[in-house]
């Protein structure tokens, strides 16, 4: 089977700098072999990158990128893109970048890839990048439930408009983002050394995977207290002293995602599995679970299993109790 193409998603509210980030990606030589699906070609302002029009909805850029409009359905647009690539009507590409619509919850896009057999044999979910306007983050967080979803699913967050926000506003925005998603790296769009190609780089080695898992699951001060959030979102980390039975964890997690998947915004874990010599990383977004990965080694001396949840409107104590009861790790006291 040929290797599946990574599909990276650029998410963020209208006006959060998503299009500007995409423009920078389209100009990056390292991302020349990309197919980019956007909402509206005209909005991207491709004139100075343009090599030629392939048809009314598809253009070829100087760096080799193919850029297409999604008319209605992302799944159909992707299938069309892959089929034209196979027929040689458009140049080959080694990744797909999708711009999500401004107000949309990004999870249905990820679900489309995971659920559609004809797509998931060709494409896999890569990185999710979310742009956040530092000036309006507080307001959007209070008024738009999609905000928490966009932040929770992000692997990397790009903070924009930091040039027009004062230090206090930026600090408040960062704190807000950390409350929802304590694990994702936050970059500033204005940083002179921001490498837009690096935003899409996935950890390739066990050491890199291990470092990322460690950043997510490090029991730090921000996990000690429940990180409550305006939109009913909270994040917390469960730490287990004993190895975990994988089969039972799978039963519990599939049942939890069946009953409450839309409220489990993110689950990420670094696990000591009974019977396995190597730690295992799990990563899920609502109903969509990525394939678990084995690491060659633990990132540090702490070999305890750690499971991070970002939940919306689900009581932490019940989730913890349920997990422990399923795993047979119930405390002796009542």
């Amino acid at each position: 089977m040929t290797e599946r193409l990574p599909l990276h998603l650029i998410s963020g509210f209208l006006g959060s700098g998503k299009t500007t980030l995409l423009q920078r990606m389209l100009g990056a030589p390292a991302l020349g072999d990309s197919a980019v699906l956007v909402n509206e070609l005209g909005e991207i302002g491709l004139d100075h990158h343009l090599l030629r029009h392939i048809d009314g909805e598809t253009v070829l850029l100087r760096n080799g990128c193919v850029c297409c409009t999604v008319r209605d359905d992302l799944g159909a647009a992707l299938k069309d893109l892959l089929s034209r690539r196979a027929r040689g009507e458009i140049p080959g590409f080694s990744r797909v970048i999708v711009e999500s619509t401004g107000l949309a919850d990004p999870v249905p896009i990820l679900s489309t890839i995971a659920a559609e057999p004809s797509l998931r044999h060709h494409v896999r979910i890569g990185r999710v990048i979310t742009t956040v306007d530092a000036v309006n983050a507080g307001l959007q967080s209070r008024q738009q439930p999609e905000f928490a979803s966009q932040i929770a699913v992000a692997d990397r967050i790009v903070l924009t408009k930091t040039d027009i926000a004062d230090a206090g506003t930026i600090a408040a925005a960062m704190a807000q983002l950390r409350l929802i998603n304590p694990g994702a790296a936050i970059d500033r769009a204005m940083a002179p050394d921001l490498d837009v190609a690096d935003l899409l780089a996935e950890p390739q080695t066990s050491a890199a995977l291990s470092a990322e898992a460690s950043a997510w699951t490090r029991p730090s001060a921000r996990f000690q207290a429940v990180a409550a959030h305006d939109a009913g979102v909270q994040s917390f980390c469960m730490v287990f002293d004993r190895p975990i039975d994988w089969v039972t964890l799978g039963i519990w997690l599939t049942m939890l995602l069946h009953a409450h998947g839309e409220r489990v915004l993110r689950v990420k874990g670094l696990l000591d599995i009974a019977g396995s010599d190597y730690p295992v990383v799990i990563n899920g977004v609502q109903h969509v679970m990525h394939k678990p990965l084995h690491l060659d080694a633990w990132p540090d001396e702490d070999h305890r299993s750690r499971l991070v949840f970002i939940l919306r409107d689900l009581p932490r104590d019940l989730v913890e109790r349920s997990c422990l009861a399923f795993l047979g790790l119930v405390p002796a006291y009542a």
Binding site: W246, G250, I251, T254, M255, A259, S276, H294, R321
Partner: protein, 106 residues
């Protein structure tokens, strides 16, 4: 595709084969499936349901009156279980949690 039953093979579910990555039909994977069936029966019993392995490719869940469904994996199992028992299968149900906790303490 299986020549006998005509089932099209699916990619393994994320929850399968993690402790011992190996081909589906090996002793380690068969043991894992047996353990999964045992674990499922522990959780399904309060709902009046049972689970069994089916040809090392799927699971059969059944009610006490014999109504049954075949499912590929545990993700597909829960909606089928809810259909068969006529109520949601919620791991956060305090009664279910209390029952499992009592079992562990026994």
């Amino acid at each position: 595709m299986c020549g006998l039953c005509g089932i099209v093979g699916n990619a393994p579910h994320w929850s399968e084969g993690v402790p011992a990555p190996s081909l589906p039909d090996t002793p380690a994977r068969r043991r894992e499936r047996q353990e999964r069936v045992r674990g499922l029966n522990r959780v399904l019993s309060p709902f009046g349901l049972t689970a069994a392995d089916w040809q090392a490719h799927a699971y059969v869940i059944a009610t006490r009156t014999g109504r049954s469904e075949i499912v590929d994996n545990t993700a597909h199992l829960w909606p089928a279980a809810a259909r068969l028992c006529g109520k949601p299968c919620d791991p956060l149900d305090p009664k279910l949690i209390a029952r499992l906790e009592a079992e562990v303490r026994r």
